[in-house]
């Protein structure tokens, strides 16, 4: 995916640096010093990340970041459909993350699928006396009330780690007593600097408690793969799975969108891991590579250009039969996608987008916007690491602004300076920019739409972007009086 360096008219390293400096002016000295390294003009030539990342958030700046618990419960565990996920601690954390991520699931709610809010609902007395006993009781209750659950995860909230509870011991005892995997995950919100550590802890927990506890019931084939780091937002997994299967591959497990615990547990038996969200799942890909020799490949399923590249890259790992199928698939869908582009590109050509999201979106979606003729003029992550920014640099046009853990103040400033036609970010930003009369899409959750992945996703994406950018409602914002 080494494309030539892109540029944007009017954007130079100098203009971007000036914009950044102006944004920093409002900070007190200490804050300015802390924030400066997180903001920079893109430098695709350098081959490295242009900003610092994965640092503590500066206090008081209105960050969009979440916590380790959010990364564990919301991102990794929540989508595993056949487990009971207990938010262990006070009532809030589980309540906020209940139904707010759009990781769609099959199964019957409360029977074989558990998209509910399970909590130990800590009270003052649980803080004082500890919650381990309560945990043991509630695990029994969960098993009794949800007999078809394949396992129970125990996701620690802040108090648990602070009061010295030992959920690992309780989990161990209760696993045996209930003859059911009880997975303790020490993902207290105060750990680390963002949701990112939650992903890592969760990956480690999968490594320690889940992987290798099952094997697939059906015989192995050379085409067995797993889809990693796709959370089925608005049905993404369903789109990509169907596509991969159309290419002749067997998707044995999905991590963790619409995920099944036992299939995840048996993933050490696949021949290749296909990873979409590198940030949240690279750990387990590396573990599986090291421990079981499973290679992995990082792909991008947004927009026909990137899908085409990805499928060909994927085909390289397989035999001629797969290659032939992949080319057939590409030929078939390219024609369909061209129609989508013909419809929407004239309405979107040259429109500017600013991205501020998490995971893979700030780089992976760039190509999809470009397929629609749009220009991405700024991008950044809530909780990325250096390797994310390395991967972002070549995707973004030269000198465009890159921001890490941006504060609302900075985003506002950049938007005022860059005047994008679309801001693509999260719910906390949505109404800020809409109040400015700016088209906006929530790009964590596809704004209640989707899927956006794969060939099924692109027409939806294109329609949604057009709808946001070209909604006649924006023209009404300016009052005639």
């Amino acid at each position: 995916m080494s494309s030539p360096v892109k540029t944007v008219d009017g954007i130079t390293k100098e203009s971007t640096q000036k914009m950044i400096d102006e944004a920093l002016e409002a900070y007190p000295e200490k804050g300015k010093k802390k924030r400066a390294p997180h903001l920079a003009p893109n430098d695709p030539g350098s081959g490295s990340a242009c900003v610092k990342s994965n640092r503590k958030t500066v206090p008081g700046v209105m960050s969009a970041r979440g916590c380790a618990y959010a990364g564990a419960k919301g991102v990794v565990w929540g989508p595993i459909r056949d487990m009971v996920h207990v938010s262990h601690g006070p009532v809030g954390c589980g309540w906020y993350s209940w139904g707010t991520r759009r990781n769609l699931m099959t199964g019957v709610n409360g029977v074989t699928q558990f998209a509910m809010q399970f909590t130990s609902d800590f009270q003052e007395k649980d803080i004082v006396y500890g919650g381990d006993k309560k945990l043991a009781v509630l695990l029994k209750e969960a098993k009794e009330l949800f007999p078809l659950a394949k396992g129970i995860s125990v996701l620690s909230e802040c108090p648990v780690g602070l009061i010295g509870d030992d959920i690992n011991a309780v989990a161990k005892t209760m696993s045996k007593e209930l003859d059911l995997p009880v997975i303790p995950c020490n993902c207290e919100g105060f750990r680390g600097v963002s949701q990112s550590l939650g992903h890592h802890i969760s990956n480690d927990t999968i490594r320690d408690y889940i992987i290798e506890t099952r094997e697939f019931a059906e015989p192995e084939t050379p085409y067995d793969i797993a889809l990693i780091g796709d959370y089925n937002i608005g049905g993404d997994v369903w789109s990509v799975k169907a596509l991969l299967e159309e290419c002749g591959l067997n998707v044995k497990a999905t991590w963790t969108g619409d995920g099944e615990m036992e299939r995840i547990a048996a993933t050490h038996k696949v021949k290749l891991n296909v990873i979409h969200c590198y940030r949240s799942m690279n750990y387990m890909c590396k573990v599986m590579e090291e421990k079981y020799g499973i290679p992995w490949i990082e792909l991008n399923f947004f927009g026909p250009t990137k899908i085409r590249e990805s499928l060909r890259k994927l085909a390289e790992r397989f035999d001629e039969a797969i290659k032939a199928k992949v080319e057939k698939v590409i030929a078939r869908y390219d024609a369909m996608m061209q129609k989508v582009i013909d419809t929407y590109r004239p309405r979107l050509e040259g429109k500017k987008v600013m991205l501020y999201v998490g995971g893979l979106r700030p780089r992976h979606t760039v190509g999809a916007y470009e397929d629609l003729g749009m220009v991405v003029v700024g991008s950044g992550y809530e909780f990325a690491h250096n390797d994310d920014y390395e991967r972002t640099s070549p995707e973004m046009p030269d000198a465009t602004v890159i921001y890490d853990d941006a504060s609302e103040h900075e985003l506002e400033h950049f938007v005022h300076a860059l005047k994008p036609d679309l801001v693509a970010s999260g719910i906390k930003e949505k109404y800020v920019f809409q109040k400015m009369g700016l088209p906006f899409r929530q790009m964590h959750s596809w704004d209640y739409s989707g899927p956006y992945h794969g060939y099924q996703g692109f027409p939806v994406f294109a329609r949604d972007i057009d709808m946001a950018v070209n909604s006649p409602t924006w023209k009404l914002v300016k009052s005639p009086f």
Binding site: C93, Q117, Q123, L145, P159, R214, V432, S479
Partner: protein, 489 residues
């Protein structure tokens, strides 16, 4: 092959269809309901959340006020997202992003740096500080920290920094709201009481109410009476601001000077007795003027009581325009009563709202068959019981105190009703029970503009009648056989 759990490696299993069907049937059974109600430790789908969210809502209700979470940044993100989704509006708030080292060394450094940055970046007139779990467990001393902050010049000496301890392992969003309003009023009114001074105003404590239309309705009523007022706290503009192309961090909110002077008010009415109990206690002991606690004015009788009290306190007759509105609400009720009469409802929500729903339903001749509160009290239980007993339409109704929405599901499946009233979280139970959910309360994540239509006052009565009756008629039209599909309803 081995693994860390020491379990034998077994093949991946698939739940047989019949087994799934059997359990699906079983979870709807009376037998399951019994097991479900025997739960001691596990809470499933509670209808309330934690204190800080309420505290943030309260903070947004004051002029130029930046809510400030002392604790983990993830907490702040959760509260903000929830408010964003409910109102479809911005919810600017900061946290001081405490992390592991905070757990070791305490949160003072984070707090100080956070206050300084927030002040510089977002130029608030007040920062309303409230805590999430971590600082509460490690025992941060906010009084001392804030004293130090001023001493070290992180914030000006006279800059108002009310703070509330709102750990998530106590109370609910409703008590957190109370704690924050209390802290703000204590801070702002300190030293402002002037012997002999009377502002002539009414102070209105609406309690935790995430319907901006309700606030506008209070204002309309008070303006009709020509009673000057101060709403404590007024979120109506904060969460229902115009879109004119300019983003404003702090639209609306109760002016700080007015809030400070509220201690010299002519009278203070709380219409959220459960959601303002501590604040009201403070008012009773500190505030000038009369102090009255009334139920949320939902339904005709409770609205009547509110207007009568206003008339009494301010020695003004109920204005003609409100008399006419009352008459129009009655007209809507008598015209539409047949669509709700005898229908059974399940209702859940916060204490003050629950009393309101129950009162309204009984007035319409409907029965609030299951009344569920996931965070209540014996006092609330008694008050609900008494309300139900006051009407023949409360006969057979049951109050379920401190039960969650998974309990509610069992109730709906084993003892069915015609409709459900509550927030968005009840939608799964409603779907399983094949009944409509009327989205009153907080939060509402899946419909638009619900917060713009008041449920209090006579207009609230009309809005509830309209929404409920028209949906019930919709369902009749959509589900009836052709031969019963009629022009008139």
């Amino acid at each position: 092959m081995s693994n860390n759990l020491g379990l034998t490696v077994k093949p991946v299993t698939t739940t047989p269809r019949e087994e799934e069907a059997r359990v699906a049937k079983w979870i709807d059974s009376p037998e399951y309901r019994e097991k479900n109600f025997a739960r001691q430790a596990l809470v499933i789908n509670p209808a309330h959340t934690c204190q800080p969210l309420g505290a943030e809502l309260a903070a947004h209700g004051f002029e130029g006020t930046l809510p400030f979470v002392h604790g983990s940044q993830g907490c702040a993100s959760y509260y903000r997202s929830t408010l964003n989704r409910h109102f479809r509006e911005p919810a600017p708030a900061v946290s001081d992003s405490m992390t592991e080292d905070g757990a070791v060394f305490g949160g003072q450094n984070n707090l100080h740096e956070g206050l300084e940055n927030a002040l510089a970046l977002y130029k608030p007139k007040m920062m309303a500080i409230f805590t999430s779990c971590m600082p509460e467990i490690i025992g941060d001393d906010l009084t001392a920290f804030l004293k130090n902050a001023r001493a070290k010049g992180h914030v000006p000496k006279d800059f108002p920094l009310p703070f509330a301890n709102t750990p998530s392992f106590n109370g609910s969003h409703v008590t957190g709201y109370d704690a924050m309003v209390l802290a703000i009023l204590q801070t702002l009114t300190e030293g402002k009481k002037v012997e002999g001074r009377c502002t002539g105003k009414l102070n209105l404590l609406p309690g935790f109410d995430a319907n901006t239309g309700d606030y506008r309705e209070y204002k309309r009523i008070l303006e009709a009476f020509d009673i000057p007022y101060t709403i404590l706290a007024d979120i109506s503009e904060s969460f229902d601001s115009p879109n004119d192309g300019t983003y404003r961090l702090y639209p609306g909110g109760t002016p700080l000077a007015e809030a400070a002077d509220s201690i010299n008010g002519k009278a203070t009415i709380s219409v959220g007795p459960y959601a303002t109990s501590k604040t009201f206690a403070f008012v009773k002991e500190s505030y000038a003027g009369k102090h009255v606690s009334l139920p949320l004015p939902m339904g005709v009788a409770k609205t009547d009581a509110f207007l009568l009290k206003l008339a009494e306190l301010f020695e003004k007759p109920v204005p003609d325009v409100l008399k006419a509105e009352r008459g129009r609400a009655i007209d809507a009720m008598t015209d539409a009563q047949q669509y709700m009469h005898g229908k059974k409802f399940a209702v859940y929500g916060d204490p003050d709202q629950l009393l309101g729903y129950v009162s309204f339903l009984l007035e319409m001749g409907a029965t609030p068959w299951h009344v569920v509160c996931s965070k209540g009290s014996k006092k609330l239980d008694k008050e609900l019981q008494a309300l139900l007993e006051s009407s023949p339409y409360g006969k057979g109704a049951q109050v379920w105190m401190n039960r969650d929405l998974w309990h509610l599901r069992s109730l709906l499946m084993t003892d069915p009703v015609d409709a459900l009233i509550g927030d968005t979280h009840g939608k799964f139970a409603a779907r399983d029970a094949k009944i409509p959910l009327f989205r009153f309360g907080f939060p509402i994540f899946d419909r638009v503009n619900k917060h713009r239509y008041p449920l209090v006052g006579y207009q609230g009565v009309i809005n509830m009648v309209t929404e409920i009756c028209n949906k019930l008629i919709d369902l009749r039209d959509e589900t009836c056989e052709d031969r019963f599909f009629e022009m008139m309803r």
